[in-house]
């Protein structure tokens, strides 16, 4: 739940979603749900050679289970806030 809330706060920002099949898509975070399914807008593929077809895509829905990493905008990362929140989560509160 922590990351769901956190990603919701990042809606509207630029992120790069790296999939388990090595495809990396950069775009504006449009929405995220409890399964961490991610919708991106204004997308572009980082490695265009591997998936040339994705060039044509401007928005997409990514299944949460195939996401390997989400690269965050540095200004969207409040380390202290996350530190506290993860601690609270670990305590079960």
């Amino acid at each position: 739940m922590l990351f769901f809330s956190y990603f919701k706060d990042l809606v509207g920002r630029e992120v790069t979603v790296e999939l388990k099949n090595d495809l990396a898509i950069r775009g504006t975070l449009h929405s995220v749900d409890q399964y961490l399914n991610i919708k991106l807008e204004n997308t572009r593929v980082v490695d265009q050679d591997k998936y040339p077809h994705m060039l044509s895509v401007r928005n997409c829905f990514i299944r949460g289970s195939v996401v390997r990493y989400v690269q965050l905008p540095p200004e969207g990362v409040d380390v202290d806030l996350l530190h506290d929140a993860t601690r609270r989560e670990a305590r079960g509160g």
Binding site: L19, N21, D33, Y35, H53, M54, N59, R63
Partner: protein, 231 residues
Amino acid sequence: MVLGLRQFIERTGDGAGVPVLDADNGEEMMHVQPGVSFVLGNRSPETPGTLYISTKKVVWLSDVDRTKGYAVDFLSLSLHAVSRDPEAYPSPCIYTQIEVEDDEHESEESDSESSEVLELSRITEMRLVPSDPGQLDTLFDVFCECAELNPEPVDEDDEEGHNWIISADQMAGENGGLAEADFPFFANPSNSIGHSNGHQDLAGSVLQLQIDDDRFEDAEEMDHDKDISHR
């Protein structure tokens, strides 16, 4: 669960028919889109056909050949998107990526039929081209809705393993959620371990304790008597 694309020919009804759904497991039809071409990877389009979107899977059936059809579970759809750039693909379409099994059985191709099945299961890109591009946004939204209906299945072993862990929420929130039936020794004290086995022992111990006490008291009294007799 098997990942990837597969052939699908289970149809009911006359003419082109409709796909057979797994109604016993709650599968329902969400959307039917006639006039959709089907493109696998870099192959040429197959047409004409009808797209069926159920709560579990995407099915495309040929309108003219009852033996031709494909299905992919939402669990295998990694990504879907609307593609409108004519330079990337001539027709606006729904573009999808399909998760496939790890490729470790490449040498197992024996006859032509199984190699076709194998090839299907390795396809990682699928395009659905509606004759009416105005339907693309609707299709995209239906895909999103159905994808959210299909989260990763929870491992059954995991789920069973969790039965004995009682969270604070369960204790507080589910009144009667932990029924007494789950704990027979609450509901029926005579069956509890302490009573059926230990009742006798417990009584015996208490008796023993009393005897010991008596003996202790006696000894004291005797000392007391002795003291008196000395005086």
